[in-house]
Amino acid sequence: MEFEPKIIAFVCNWCTYAAADLAGTSRIQYPPNVRIIRLMCSGAVDPIYILKALLDGADGVLIGGCHPGDCHYQNGNYKARRRFAILRTILRDLGIPDERVRLEWISASEGKKFADTITNMVEELKKLGPSPFKTMWEI
């Protein structure tokens, strides 16, 4: 059986969540590997959520927020971008490939972009193989 990656997506209520909705109502096909968790803003994504998902065996994590300048709360996505930069530096130092955690700006009208992002992410993760955390009990 082919390896099917599991992606946890933390998405903003005002943009990426609506984009996922749009992808559905527009009947755009994309792989069913993603589990969406809706938050009020990408700025509400604490790095602990991403880490917990990764350590408990998610193959990939996606954070979806509004394009810079478009945040419903003025600057939540700028804060998310900072936190993401710090998290990525940490993950790189520990040898976790960039493909496993992604930050994407997907607006409410970009249903197609949401579907493409998931499709692309699933492809990349299939190439990478299952997350090593899946079997590591020592964490």
């Binding site: 710090i86 940490i90 130092d93 590591m136 009990w137 964490i139």
Partner: protein, 362 residues
């Protein structure tokens, strides 16, 4: 400027100096380390009565706490009195960083920095105390300057800021004859008030300092290169961190970890039995206590940009985890990313509490 030693006794001279500071009302209270009467141990003291200054030990090579955290409890609310605090370089960096996080108000603080070339782990200090020769401050300090092998903490071995910045007064032993004098740097008015003769700085100080700093910087680069080899993958990290017993000592001792209510102390991490069993079922087995790596990685996310490299985390760890090493390695990269030097410039905001609208490094 220098203060000549009274009868060649460094401790007596320092006692008199700090007594003067209190008596002349340069500060209303003094926060200073003093040794316990037996001389076996020391603690920070907050002194109001000048006659209680008996055993000040600003140069004693042990660091029980990072003083920044203690200063926070003194200045989080306005103390309404001027407090003089005698601290080392890493503690001053902690004070500056905590001030940026609004945990310390600098308005009533009179920071007095002391030269520091390293502190020892308590066990190592005990060993020296119990040895035949006992502990001799002058010998210890001159060994540190000459580079003789001294068993100091890892964080101190690679610390390249022996002299604190952002202070109103500096006391030191680097580049002077410790048997005769102590170095002091302060404003002319204060020097006059304290009766310190205005003399030019000892010429050797800058030279000795730059040599020491260059050497320590080299040691730091070497240390980082070794760490990069050591922590190449997550399994390398787990080799060391799997023995974490989640005592949270590192969190308690870290001066930057200031949250009054840490998420790890809330019931978010009190899982139901069926939850543990579900996790165990998924992986076949899980380690207890659970969520230890999550704890360290989360702390890393919160602290890395502001880590002031005091090494108290590792000193506090009962299981000898390389917490300091991990934070040093990752902190260095995160700080480089934002071109940020924690504890240095009070006007610079820590990366984690600010943002830019233009494109940022990713």
């Amino acid at each position: 400027m220098i203060i000549p030693l009274k009868d060649g006794d460094i401790e007596e001279t320092l006692n008199k100096f700090f007594k003067d500071i209190l008596e002349k009302k340069i500060v209303d209270a003094l926060f200073i380390p003093q040794s316990i009467f037996s001389g076996r141990s020391y603690a920070y003291t907050l002194v109001k009565d000048p006659s209680k200054i008996k055993n000040v030990q600003p140069f004693l090579p042990i660091l029980m706490n990072n003083g920044a955290k203690l200063i926070s409890s003194l200045t989080f609310w306005d103390p309404k009195q001027k407090i003089g605090a005698v601290l080392r370089s890493c503690e001053i960096r902690g004070v500056i960083e905590l001030a940026k996080f609004k945990q310390i108000t600098l308005d009533r603080l009179f920071l007095i920095g002391v030269d520091c070339l390293g502190t020892m782990e308590i066990e190592d200090f005990e060993k020296v105390l119990n040895s035949k020769e006992g502990f001799k401050l002058e010998k210890f300090l001159s060994d540190l300057i000459s580079g003789a092998p001294v068993n100091i903490r890892k964080a101190c071995q690679i610390c390249s800021s022996p002299v604190p910045q952002n202070v109103l007064m500096n006391l030191g032993f680097i580049g002077v004859d410790i048997k005769k004098e102590i170095f002091i740097h302060t404003s002319d008015e204060l020097a006059q008030e304290l009766g310190i003769e205005k003399k030019s700085n000892p010429d050797k100080r800058e030279e000795v300092l730059s040599q020491i700093v260059a050497k320590k910087k080299k040691q730091r680069d070497q240390f980082l290169a070794e760490l990069r080899k050591k922590f190449k993958s997550i399994s390398d990290l787990l080799n060391e961190f799997a023995r974490c017993k989640r005592c949270y000592n590192c969190r308690v001792e870290c001066p930057i970890c200031y949250c009054k209510e840490c998420v790890f102390l809330t019931n978010v991490f009190e899982h139901r039995p069926e939850q543990y069993l579900k996790w165990a079922e998924r992986k076949g087995l899980i380690k207890f206590p659970y969520d230890t790596l999550l704890f360290h990685l989360t702390r890393l996310n919160h602290i890395a940009a502001s880590c002031i490299s005091c090494g108290q985390c590792s000193s506090a760890c009962p299981n000898n985890l390389p917490v300091f090493e991990l934070f040093q390695l990752v902190g260095n990269d995160v700080q480089k990313l934002f071109e940020y030097e924690p504890g240095n410039n009070i006007d610079e905001r820590p990366p984690i509490i600010t943002f830019k609208e233009e494109l940022e490094p990713l």
